[in-house]
């Protein structure tokens, strides 16, 4: 029907370039990672002998935990011990997140070029934050249980340090990415450093900071499940107790209950954070 589209006018001077080869970093990086995995995982002198075969080999073995799954004792979830454990976990996580968040805010601000008043403070706070971050929460818990005895207090302290580490790190990463315009205008109006940080920096990082604090609350909830194993209170104490007594029917029921709680808190926190950012 219609005439065929006319061929574009040929322009011999502007030949199309060949597609460039992929950057060598991607190619050699991928090959390197595969090689590293093989070397570390192979069954030889310096490898750990990684293999999925053990899973298959043990499938038929008697497994008390799986027995527990088969005879779940849901009534445990309503027992006073378990309810108190859940309540304690919530309380520990909330106190640690709030106190940790308060302490982490100045540490995050000082851990940034924009927020620190001078290089000395910047370097000192950066190292201090790295130090806090380098110690795992479980080690904090072991230390505080040894120092002040079993209970919720060592758990709260361990989660407090975990909160400070996480919130300070994540928040300080966004401080240096803020719009520098308001910072310049605050300086130009004769504001002191503290005033500049409060009026020009803080409003810009507040949504991110709040979001990180909420996320840390979830981390603390999960963390408290493990800390109970070293005597640091919370629902983890219940886990540890049932595990040691071999009450797997109750243990698995409580673990599933805990999973649901964490899942719901996670959903709520995602919804709240979406509105913040």
């Amino acid at each position: 029907m219609s005439a065929a589209p006319s061929a574009p006018a040929s322009r011999p001077d502007s030949a199309r370039p060949d597609k460039p080869p992929p950057p060598p970093f991607v190619l050699w990086g991928s090959l390197g990672l595969i090689a590293l995995t093989l070397v570390l995982g192979w069954d030889w002198e310096y490898g750990i002998g990684f293999s999925l075969r053990d899973i298959y080999d043990n499938l038929g073995r008697h497994n008390p935990v799986l027995e527990g799954v088969r005879n779940l004792d849901w009534s445990t979830l309503a027992s006073p011990t378990v309810l108190a454990g859940f309540a304690e976990t919530f309380q520990m996580a909330a106190i640690a997140t709030i106190l940790g968040g308060i302490v982490a805010l100045p540490l995050a601000l000082l851990n940034s070029v924009t927020g620190a008043p001078n290089t000395f403070v910047y370097v000192a706070v950066k190292n201090f934050n790295s130090f806090i971050r380098a110690i795992p929460d479980l080690i904090y818990a072991v230390f505080f249980v040894a120092a002040i005895g079993r209970g919720a207090l060592p758990g709260v302290l361990a989660l407090f340090f975990l909160s400070v580490a996480v919130i300070a790190k994540l928040t300080s990463d966004i401080v240096d990415g803020i719009d520098q315009g308001p910072v310049e205008s605050a300086r130009a109006s004769g504001a002191s450093h503290t005033q500049m940080v409060k009026t020009a920096v803080l409003p810009q990082i507040l949504p991110g900071y709040t979001s990180f604090a909420l996320y840390t609350f979830e981390i603390n909830l999960r963390g408290s499940a493990v800390l109970g194993f070293v005597g640091a209170g919370g629902i983890g104490e219940v886990f540890s107790n049932y595990y040691q007594r071999g009450w797997y029917d109750r243990l698995v029921a409580v673990v599933i209950g805990f999973f649901v709680v964490v899942f719901v808190v996670d959903r709520i926190s995602i919804a709240v954070r979406k509105r913040l950012l």
């Binding site: 310049e184 605050a186 004769g190 504001a191 002191s192 503290t194 009026t199 409003p203 810009q204």
Partner: protein, 258 residues
């Protein structure tokens, strides 16, 4: 009001942004600085409030020498010098009023800043500044909800809230459309006239420079190449300042004649 004596600025990278500039601006004068990008306009303006320290030479505001290394003195001086920016530089997540109150920071105690408790007098000053630029009805609106022209008027109000003797404006119309540009320039002009505030304004549109400036200062590659009354600055003068013939891009209104 503002004096430059043999002022030079060399940036750490070795770029010489200002070369031996001597200049004297009188009280209440409306001075427009013109020049191509990179001619040193922003540097000259930022030397006045010490945001860019001079490498050599002296700059004075009133009889006070601008010394960026004397933290206390430079903050007191900055309190007297308002500044308006090309990109408005508002804190977008907070209210218009809070942004204008930033102009009161130097006279506000640190604890008041930290808890956000500004005095009634400061709030009153901020409101008056907003009334002056006719945007007071937006006082409790988030800055991010304003148009570019409205944001720039808030920027002007913030500078006014300082009760300044001098206002510096760095390309105040560069991110605005032509009608809004005229509105902002008219605001600046009336502030200069009514409040007897010395204005130092960077512009790259030559018709705006001629229409609003009392005096035009031309910079080329960091050197002062023109200093004269705005009405004397004709096409030849601008050609000299720019070091090339003029194009339609050098004026805001294409059909308007220079």
């Amino acid at each position: 009001m503002i004096t430059f004596e043999n002022a030079s600025v060399t940036y750490p990278g070795g770029v010489q942004a200002l070369k031996d500039v001597s200049l004297e601006l009188g009280e209440g004068e409306f001075v427009v600085i013109v020049g191509l990008s990179g001619a040193g306009k922003s540097t000259l303006i930022r030397a006045v409030n010490g945001l860019v320290p001079l490498t050599s030479g002296i700059c004075r505001v009133g009889d006070q020498v601008v010394d960026a290394h004397d933290k206390k003195a430079i903050r007191a001086l900055r309190a007297e010098v308002g500044m308006i920016f090309q990109t408005h530089n508002l804190v977008k997540r907070t209210t218009v009023l809070n942004n204008v109150l930033m102009g009161r920071l130097h006279r506000t105690a640190t604890w008041r800043t930290l808890v956000g408790a500004y005095t009634k007098g400061d709030v009153e000053l901020a409101m008056q500044a907003l009334e002056r630029v006719e945007i007071v009805e937006k006082a409790y609106v988030r800055a991010s909800n304003l148009s570019g022209g409205q944001q720039q008027r808030v920027g002007i109000a913030r500078a006014l809230a300082q009760e300044p003797k001098v206002v510096l404006a760095d390309e105040p119309t560069a991110s605005l459309d032509p009608p809004t540009s005229h509105l902002v320039m008219r605001d600046l002009k009336s502030i200069c006239r009514d409040l007897n505030i010395t204005m130092l304004v960077n512009l790259h549109f030559l018709d705006l420079a001629r229409a609003y400036g009392d005096r035009i200062v031309g910079l080329r590659a960091g050197e002062l190449v023109y200093d004269g009354a705005a009405e004397d600055a004709d096409e030849n003068v601008f050609r000299d300042i720019y070091g090339r013939s003029l194009t339609a891009d050098d004026v805001l209104e294409k059909e308007g004649s220079l």
